[in-house]
């Protein structure tokens, strides 16, 4: 759409290869259809369930038992997604961007072949190309995985309640899905090969795991599935999972209605003819290395989004990179995408918002003696009356002692973590220091105000347990 603004003739080729179980979706990519949007809506569904329980203490009289209907929720979520798909079609049309629901592949340096779902082929030529093909869930490569397991591609439109679920993986996808499924009342187990949330601050990752475990989600650690068999067909059916320990030869078996694989995502770069145009990819990961202007090794081919090597896999990053790229190409702009201090949020039952360095990365980059970590527990006011979870929410900032105690890492574990983090990300972009944080007056009574009154350092070892306001 950005390029069309500058009167360029633009075409979009979008095609979804169905999952092994036949799931597919409309225009908009992963985020809209099988990612952020349905995920957050289902997370909200789970939070509302909790809110209904809390409401009793606030005087609401629920006369009936509170139950959840999976189909009602999925229908509502899919209806909303449908309206988004249509909205994108209209937007493309209004901006005069040609759109084909066809699978694009390079057949020459400036030529792409588009194959639609009926197999009809068309050829298109262009001066420049932008690859944004994203990723798809990885399968385990064990017997029964493609036949019986589902992935996040299938979960958000599953036409039946998944029932007792085994989630395989420790990614944010795995934990977020496990989180809301349990929040909806399902029996959930998470099978983890080694650590939780690789790449994230491990102190925070462990707190997230502890919270989930404390709320009824079982964790099986240091095991990987080696076989999935079907005991009984059905919607859902019954599956038997055999798993092997990662240290030793112990094997275990378990029975579940659904097995959800969330062990990682693979870039869709291997079957789009990149060899025909000469674009180099990392053979091992499938990712495309680009320079800081999102250009591949072939000058007229660019790439954005999850397929980029060593870049953050986040929707807003891809969108920003794409817009700035087009502005540089066609509007004479020079701004490049800033990949530093990009805020994110993990929507696990206890939400986690972060911006900047993890504690480990900060210690490694600046030296442990050169950073100061301020932290505190906090108890959201809304949780006091229903008597929920004191001393589980947590706030942490990491400061660079060699640079005016500049805030280089921001971490919050608590409700509305995303909303809290957004503002602090802007402050960090302006060079926020600990002193500026301390001289900012807090808003009371909200969770975020804790960041204006952090005094205890990790180094001191002092207690951060809270008693109450």
């Amino acid at each position: 759409q950005e390029a069309a603004k500058y009167n360029k003739k633009v075409m979009v080729l979008d095609f979804v290869k169905p999952t092994p179980l036949g799931s597919s979706w409309g225009l908009g990519g992963t985020c809209v259809n099988v990612g952020c949007i349905p995920k957050k809506l289902m997370h909200q569904a789970a939070l509302l369930g909790q809110a209904l329980e809390d409401s009793r203490k606030f005087g609401w009289q629920l006369t009936e038992e509170v139950k959840h209907n999976w189909l009602t929720m999925t229908e509502s979520v899919q209806n909303y997604i449908g309206s988004l798909n249509w909205g994108y079609r209209v937007a493309l049309r209004e901006k005069s961007v040609a759109y084909e629901n066809a699978y694009g592949e390079f057949v020459g340096p400036h030529t792409v072949k588009a194959t639609n779902k009926r197999g009809a082929e068309k050829l298109y030529t262009a001066e420049r190309f932008l690859i944004a093909t994203g990723e798809r869930p990885r399968y385990l490569g064990i017997p029964g995985d493609k036949e019986y397991c589902i992935s996040s591609d299938d979960l958000f439109s599953l036409p039946y309640c998944p029932g007792k679920t085994l989630v395989v993986g420790a990614s944010y996808v795995a934990l977020e899905c496990a989180g809301f499924l349990a929040g909806l009342g399902l029996d959930v187990t998470v099978m983890v090969r080694s650590i939780l949330l690789r790449g994230f601050d491990q102190d925070m990752a462990n707190k997230i795991g502890d919270y989930m475990e404390g709320h009824g989600i079982s964790f099986i650690r240091q095991f990987v599935p080696i076989k999935v068999e079907q005991i009984e067909e059905g919607t859902p059916g019954r599956l038997k999972v055999t798993a092997k320990s990662t240290n030793g030869s112990e094997t275990i078996e378990g029975e579940y209605n659904t097995v959800l694989l969330a062990i990682g995502r693979d870039a869709c770069t291997r079957t789009i003819g990149l060899d025909k145009v000469g674009v180099k990819i990392n053979e091992k990961t499938g990712k495309i290395p680009v320079n800081d202007e999102e250009q591949t090794n072939v000058p007229h081919v660019y790439a954005i989004g999850d397929i980029l090597e060593d870049k953050l896999e986040l929707t807003p990053v891809a969108i920003q990179a794409g817009r700035l790229l087009v502005q540089r190409l066609y509007a004479g702009a020079t701004r490049k995408c800033d990949y530093v201090n990009v805020p994110t949020t993990v929507f696990t039952p206890l939400e986690y918002g972060a911006c900047g360095y993890s504690e480990e990365a900060a210690a490694e980059t600046f030296g442990e003696e050169n950073i100061e970590v301020y932290h505190s527990n906090f108890w959201p006011l809304e949780w006091t009356v229903p008597g929920r979870d004191n001393n589980k929410c947590y706030a942490k900032v990491i400061c660079n002692l060699q640079d005016n105690e500049r805030v280089i890492g921001f971490h919050v574990l608590g409700p509305n973590a995303g909303e809290i983090t957004q503002g602090f990300a802007a402050a960090m972009k302006c060079g926020l220091t600990k002193e500026q944080l301390d001289t900012t007056i807090g808003i009371h009574p909200v969770c975020a105000e804790i960041f204006t009154t952090l005094t205890v350092t990790k180094r001191s070892g002092a207690s951060i347990l809270q008693a109450g306001c």
């Binding site: 979706w25 309206s83 249509w86």
Partner: protein, 146 residues
């Protein structure tokens, strides 16, 4: 919205529920509901739209709707009921914009429900969103009368 291939194949096998010949004259009020049934039909494809809407000697209201659209589910039956009341003077074509995106784009549908009033292949009137029965009655009478 997400689809499953099996379901799609099933839908494409669903036979047409209405005959493609022109309307027959029916005696008496006992058959008023079947007149309503035949006054309303689902458009199957582009050429079906040409035959039964564009080339229809009678005026046709075209209801562009979508499965994911809540208000469409309210307007649809309401419009069908008001069309049936017009005793065959107007017909109603239903177009699912996800199944027939080309048609929806051709007629510049942005939001749903969008209802077009068509006479002799031309769009003579249109509205977007929900209307109540009285408003629909006026809309239809204007189409028939004009």
């Amino acid at each position: 919205m997400a689809q499953r291939l099996v379901l799609q194949r099933l839908l494409s096998l669903t036979p047409r529920t209405l005959p493609s010949q022109g309307p027959r004259v029916l005696p008496g009020r006992a058959f008023s509901t079947s007149v309503g049934c035949r006054s309303t039909f689902n458009v199957q494809d582009g050429s079906d739209f040409q035959d039964r809407v564009v080339n229809n000697p009678k005026p046709v209201v075209v209801d562009f709707h979508a499965q994911w659209c809540g208000p469409c589910k309210i307007l649809g039956p309401r419009l069908e009921k008001m069309v049936a009341k017009q005793e065959g003077k107007v017909q109603m074509a239903k177009v699912d914009i996800d199944d027939h995106t080309d048609l929806a784009i051709e007629y510049e549908v942005s939001a749903v429900p969008t209802v077009l009033a068509m006479k002799n292949g031309d769009v003579v009137d249109k509205f977007v969103g929900i209307k109540d029965e009285d408003q629909l009655e006026a809309f239809l009478k204007k189409l028939i009368g004009a």
